[in-house]
Symmetry: C2
Subunit: 184 residues, 2 copies
Amino acid sequence: MSESIESPKSKLEEAQNKVIGAIAETMDLYGVTPAAANLYATMYFKDQMTLDEMRTELDMSKPSMSTSVRKLQDIAMVKKTFTRGSRKHTYVAEKDFFRSFMAFYCQMWEREVKMNLDAIEEAQEDFINVIKDPNSTQDIVAEAKKYYDQLQESKTYYYWLNDLVESIRSGKIFEFLPKDEANK
Amino acid sequence: MSESIESPKSKLEEAQNKVIGAIAETMDLYGVTPAAANLYATMYFKDQMTLDEMRTELDMSKPSMSTSVRKLQDIAMVKKTFTRGSRKHTYVAEKDFFRSFMAFYCQMWEREVKMNLDAIEEAQEDFINVIKDPNSTQDIVAEAKKYYDQLQESKTYYYWLNDLVESIRSGKIFEFLPKDEANK
DNA sequence: AAAAGTATTAAATAAATATTTAACAAACTT
DNA sequence: AAGTTTGTTAAATATTTATTTAATACTTTT
């Protein structure tokens, strides 16, 4: 890999590719498709891109770019920009990871909290009905009570998760955990 | 669905199933297979289970239970227990969601930080070499500087994420965001 | 309003992942 | 130590998910 004959241009690209690879690899743990992960990582080094530039750069189909870019918009990692004079849509990558973090996790956690708390409320009602039901044996009642309490306990977690979301959304968390911490 | 003819026993199960469904559905957003998600949610209402009980309960193959339970152990959502007198291995679900949260996200975020910081360090070195290279044109140098700075900026985020992990691991975060918050 | 360019949706294909069946290995019992 | 039970690994199958090709709808320009 004789370094000396390599052009500055290609060294630049090589350096970018290292980061692109790392970002893409960690991103598909975030539930996005490989295409979307690659796309975001690629856009991370571009000012803005059109769908056609994307498909050329990644050598993939346009619909694939279209759906990927939409998915990335959903999790606020890509934004549409308005470029005068061009009919093509242009998109930019969110380069502030704090914002991506916020958008992604808050959305995910809110969904989780809502879905589980809803189910818990319903189930707790059911358990109460079982407890009150004269047809219930002692064993059944005891079980129902146990589960009711277990769910009650778990609500603490979901409330906490909601608080976490809230403190991220409001930025209050950065009072506790500052962003730069003297930049190490 | 005439409620009155339903036995307390089946009402109990129905209530559990509501919660099982919700947990399982949110869990496969956490990168576990449907089998593992269902398994965890089922175990959430059991004291302990053997592999054979799991396969009976979920009506799936034993190897599927074996791999699922291992995956769940990896993310610390299930623990092995030692039951005297039984040759079968027994497992219990971690019912404290705070612990699961900690284990899952800390592991995930540490991986992300390490992988990306490593790539960034390498890339930044490369960019410096391009900047120092006499063959580099002005444009190339400017680009290299731009990317170097962009990566430098992004490190702030990864350091912050590391701090977050640290404060979760140590429990310090609960000083800032208390667990029970008067239980609403 | 027509035509050209662009983006999106739908159906078909390709690729990846989860699950199962079958074979193997390990641990316990007698 | 041989046989039986339990758990794991490997190969094959099934299922799901991602991607592409082809068709459609929307925008903008003339």
